[in-house]
Amino acid sequence: MVEQALKVEQQESLPDVGGHFGIFGGRFVSETLMPALEELDEAWRHYLKDPDFLAEMDRDLAHFVGRPSPLYLAENLTREVGGARIVLKREDLNHTGAHKINNTVGQGLLARAMGKRRVIAETGAGQHGVASATIAARLGMDCVVYMGAEDVRRQSVNVFRMKLLGAKVVAVESGSRTLKDALNEAMRDWVTNVDDTFYILGTVAGPHPYPAMVRDFNAVVGREARAQMLTEYGRLPDALVACVGGGSNAIGLFHPFIDDTEVAMYGVEAAGRGLSGHEHAASLCAGRVGVLHGSRTYLLDDDSGQIRHTHSISAGLDYPGVGPEHAWLKDCGRAQYVGISDSEAMEAFHALTRREGIMPALESAHAIAYGLKLAAELSRDKIVLINLSGRGDKDINTVAELEGIEF
């Protein structure tokens, strides 16, 4: 526990006290939200050094979430690709089926510690909404989840799961009716109900302290993976691969490896129907620096600064911004960001399902697709570690629709 607290302390070197990662991050929000963010910042800093809080979080991560999640050597795909060994970090095996629960357990406990009775969340694919509704059910809190109306349609199974868990799901009809609009709506709720409400933001975007706090709650993924690599393979991997929408699973994996400069890092964005047009969600690959949802970061906008509608087959990656720490990792060259198209992701979805018996979330399928490409270019003595951030059950309707199958 002491070790974990120390680790967190080291991580506090970035961002700075105002939440800046170099020129990125910060707190670009209305004054009405600033005190709430300051209160949250203070609570987060306090409880991440509180042994009782950390012990409870560790207990929940072990017994409620099912951590540690295993590393899995994908032997069949490794053989087929004929290059580097492909190792998967099995976040899909977590309770609720994705890495998102790591963060919601942390924020849920923090909400309770701060005396908040009501939690709200935004969700894209629905994974974060389900994870938030789950922790709210366990902690006996009211939960409202904002979800773009388009995503409600795409992810009807997760909507039903949230309702079963007792959450109220609000379909957001404004703007592009996807994740960014859900985030706007959640912020509006928070600013109105700030006294009793805790906003469980689901990714490493948004105003400070969210990017750093969500990172810290997800860094358990990278800490485990690093230790497991050393124990099981006697070495660190040569490359990390993770999909990036807002970027929480990627930061969670990357962060504990940042000082291991021999480990390459690849963030995989949704290239949708191609990076040449606008039907993608690749803010780091094809965007520019601006201000969205409370932080300065790379984003996708038009020439008059209006945020663009994005596209991806994967609702969880369908977001026009990205966490500011990724923007910083890109600019300082520590991580590289690449795009994987809808069709490449679909191919990888099928490959992992058929060859390994593991059905990945469409988000994670982007990471698998790039991981396979990368492994093919590397020699057999190398190891590529891919974050399998979520399972694909929630996506079977989307996959069926894409392939013209009716149930």
Partner: protein, 279 residues
């Protein structure tokens, strides 16, 4: 002298509280905006706030969000907003104009370029909703060089150290957000205003405008008793939303603002100094 400072000095001398309507540029239709501004002034507005349309208006409620979406759908971006200001200035060289919006469109245009263009067009103040004092140093320098005031929001929850920070950068007036929530979300609690305004005045030596949650003449009149300016946004924008012609929009502005002005003028006429002392 910046028009905002001039206007508040004149108002103070006349013991008059400022009426500041907010409209979204390009809403309900782009060719109505300049006419709406002139109609507002004719109906008794002392300053006007013009919203710069943005796709993701996080701090605004459904009424203003809808106005922004409609304005954008009709092609009103930053460039068009500046054109409207230029157009307005042809006939009105005195009424201060405050542009209100979000950071990204300005960032995209380049803050320095925007500050020059805005000053040239005749803009007097800028309120960037998602740019609190913490992030405002650079922009503030650029605006100051062009003689544009940066207006800051303060809220019931704003701490003393944040008030001090805003005091260092703020110009023109301070915009006091009278409720917790987004624009147009709830009605204002007039009772709670006086002590809060007193707190703001103790830290910031600028006129205090009160907005968010003022929808009726009676509320505006009540707020006039303590504030230096009354901002009305959502209630006006909501009425404009139903207008289908420039004439209708102009009539709507006049019919809505004139009773507000009248109620404000008929409320106990105290000077700003008196108000400050009483509170």
């Amino acid at each position: 002298m910046n028009r905002i400072d001039q206007r508040f000095a004149d108002l103070k001398a006349a013991a008059r509280v400022a009426l500041v309507p907010y409209v979204t540029a390009g809403h309900p239709q782009p060719d109505a905006t300049v006419a709406i501004l002139h109609a507002a002034v004719a109906a008794g507005a002392d300053l006007v706030e013009l919203g710069m349309p943005f796709s993701d208006v996080m701090a605004d409620g459904p009424v203003i969000q809808n106005a922004h979406e409609r304005a954008l759908a009709q092609g009103t971006g930053l460039e068009q907003v500046l054109d409207m200001v230029r157009d307005f200035r042809r006939e009105d060289s005195d009424t201060p104009i405050i542009l209100m919006g979000y950071a990204n469109p300005i960032e995209r245009r380049g803050a320095g370029r925007f500050a020059r263009e805005a000053a040239e067009a005749g803009v007097d103040g800028l309120l960037i909703v998602d740019c609190p004092a913490d992030e405002a140093d650079e922009l503030q320098g650029l605006l100051k060089a062009q003689g544009i005031h940066q207006i800051f929001l303060v809220a019931p929850t704003t701490t003393e150290h944040r008030l001090n920070h805003a005091a260092r950068l703020a110009g023109g007036f301070v915009y006091y957000v009278s409720i917790k929530g987004v624009t147009g979300a709830a009605s204002l609690d007039v009772e709670s205003l006086a002590p809060m305004i007193k707190r703001v005045r103790a830290r910031i030596n600028l006129p205090v405008a009160v907005g968010f949650g003022i929808r009726e003449p009676a509320q505006a009149a009540a707020v006039s008793a303590t504030a230096d300016a009354v901002v009305i946004g959502s209630a006006l924008v909501d009425r404009l939303d139903g207008c289908s012609s420039v004439e209708e929009a102009v009539a709507t502005v006049r019919d809505f603002l004139a009773p507000v002005r009248e109620a404000m003028d008929n409320s106990a006429p105290v000077s700003i100094e008196d108000t400050a002392r009483v509170t």
